[in-house]
């Protein structure tokens, strides 16, 4: 490969290309050879994460259990040879779908659709206006998107969300707040045919971490999912916490009482909710709180959230 072209492609990939260099790269890919070089590089960029995950996993799986390898390959073959089956199920398949490999061979044998995968790498900063009544935006108490901080490195990508305060702009009765909350409303109406028979569950997962806080302090975190009809989701009534508990079509909550004090370890919470057929929206609620009455205050010194995922999976109800 032409070294000069190789370097220009490299600089594009790293986001360091100047205007003049972009002109030169554009000139270089006027030729079939230049375009082939660019294509090859971008193939590698897109395919490397999968190759890195797959190769060692397959090797290890083969050592431990030959069947594990054949199961993973079964998925690959299924994907290659049965696309119409996938299409009929209305599945949108991800590019970088290692998680799907395991989902497909996992116990549920379900089909997984990613509704949200958030590691706070891009997009607008979360709003500080409490529970959102508009889909597609994070909103809640004061938070900020940050990079590595206080010994905590993002679990995924280069950024993570930091909880700052247990209240939001104009919060009524803010005094005494001790839980930092962040929410996101997800419109699931486009996927209704996937759960209209009551045969699907939404799965939520997120990871939490904290700086090395004093040993006499304790912090708890939780994730919740609320299934809502459109009227309840958007009429503003959910801004009263009580409405969520009484007016939701269904809800699920999973709590971890205490975060550890090791900045090197992220702690994952998982939760799942079977979707009622009349669900229009899912409300994600993620919370971090001071775990003891003695330490209650409205601020957090170094507590973080990352890698939030929401998926929809077909799974038959228990008999």
């Amino acid at each position: 490969m032409n070294t000069h072209l190789d370097e220009l492609i490299n600089r594009w990939r790293e986001g360091e290309l100047s205007d003049e260099e972009l002109r030169r790269l554009t000139d270089a890919i006027a030729t079939p050879e230049g375009r082939a070089a660019l294509r090859g590089d971008w193939f590698l960029e897109a395919a490397l994460p999968e190759a890195l995950r797959t190769s060692p996993v397959l090797k290890l799986a083969q050592k431990l259990d030959p069947m594990a390898t054949s199961q993973t390959r079964t998925w690959t073959n299924w994907l290659s040879w049965r696309p119409l089956t996938a299409a009929a199920a209305g599945i949108v398949l991800g590019m970088f779908c290692t998680s799907m490999v395991f989902a497909y061979v996992g116990p549920s044998l379900g089909k997984v659709m990613t509704l949200l995968q958030e590691s706070f790498e891009s997009g607008p900063a979360p709003l500080v206006t409490g529970v959102p009544i508009e889909a597609g935006k994070w909103s809640g108490d004061y938070t900020e998107v940050v990079g590595e901080q206080r010994g905590v490195k993002p679990e995924s990508g280069k950024k993570m969300l930091r909880f700052l305060r247990a209240d939001f702009e104009g919060k009524p009765q803010a005094a005494g707040s001790a839980a930092g909350d962040i929410y996101r409303l997800v419109d699931v109406r486009p996927y209704r045919k996937e759960f209209s028979d009551g045969g699907a569950v939404a799965q939520l997962s997120a990871v939490f971490n904290a700086f090395e806080f004093p040993a006499n302090e304790a912090y708890g975190c939780s994730i919740s999912l609320f299934a809502l009809d459109a009227e309840t989701a958007m009429n503003g009534s959910t801004r009263s916490g009580q409405t969520l508990n009484t007016e939701s079509l269904a809800m699920a909550r999973n709590s971890r009482l205490k975060l550890d004090r090791d900045p090197a370890t992220w702690q994952r919470l998982n939760g799942e909710l079977r979707l009622p057929p009349n669900t229009d929206f899912l409300l994600i609620h993620i919370s971090l709180s001071h775990a003891s009455i003695a330490q209650r205050k409205a601020t957090f010194d170094g507590h973080y959230l990352d890698d939030v995922r929401l998926t929809l999976t077909r799974r038959a109800p228990l008999p």
Binding site: E16, R35, E45, A47, A51, S55, A87, V92, M95, F96
Partner: protein, 180 residues
């Protein structure tokens, strides 16, 4: 099966078949795997809506690239920090040529699965240290500074090594594909 659902199934099958190539196009332009995933899914949603309306697409791959290109442009506009600062004429020419680069392989017989398989083998054959470095950079998405720190090397040494390993992998993949 209705004509409409047959059309959707055909479109979905073609989309699934070409999703990795379209993914490389989108990811290559955006350089952000999560944003690329969002764009890819949005392209499918729009494709399905178009097919449901009864639109016949002569070249679905090209149509998807066109939609993806518009979505990427909008993403760049929203993310003003994106390092795409050139004047729009140059950028449009660049995008035209990138689209052409992928259109040229629409009929390529060596499909993504073969390339991915070849890459799997090439990665598995790498020295452990090179694979560790790649894993830090591409799977854990660590910064170059962090990779250098973790590997006990200088930033410059890691940059050079990654550059060499990538080139070696590209050559390895092409060699394997030529032997098929």
């Amino acid at each position: 099966m209705s004509i409409e659902s047959e059309a959707i199934q055909r479109a979905a099958a073609e989309f699934i078949h070409g999703r990795h190539r379209l993914g490389a196009f989108v990811n290559g332009l955006l350089r952000d795997a999560h944003a690329a995933e969002d764009v890819l899914q949005e392209v499918w949603v729009r494709l399905a809506a178009e097919v449901e309306k009864g639109t016949r697409l002569d070249n679905q791959s090209a149509w998807c690239r066109g939609v993806a290109r518009n979505l990427i442009r909008r993403h760049w506009e929203q993310q003003q920090s994106a390092k795409v600062v050139a004047d729009s004429a140059v950028l449009e020419t660049f995008l035209d040529r990138v689209e052409l680069a992928f259109a040229e392989v629409d009929d390529d017989t060596a499909d993504w699965a073969e390339r991915q398989h070849a890459l799997d083998e090439c990665v598995a054959a790498l020295p452990e240290r090179s694979r560790q470095m790649l894993t830090l950079r591409y799977e854990s998405r660590a910064s170059m500074d962090d990779v250098a720190r973790a590997m006990g090397q200088t930033f410059e040494a890691v940059t050079k090594t990654l550059y060499r390993v990538r080139r070696a992998l590209l050559e390895c993949v092409e060699r394997k594909l030529s032997q098929i």
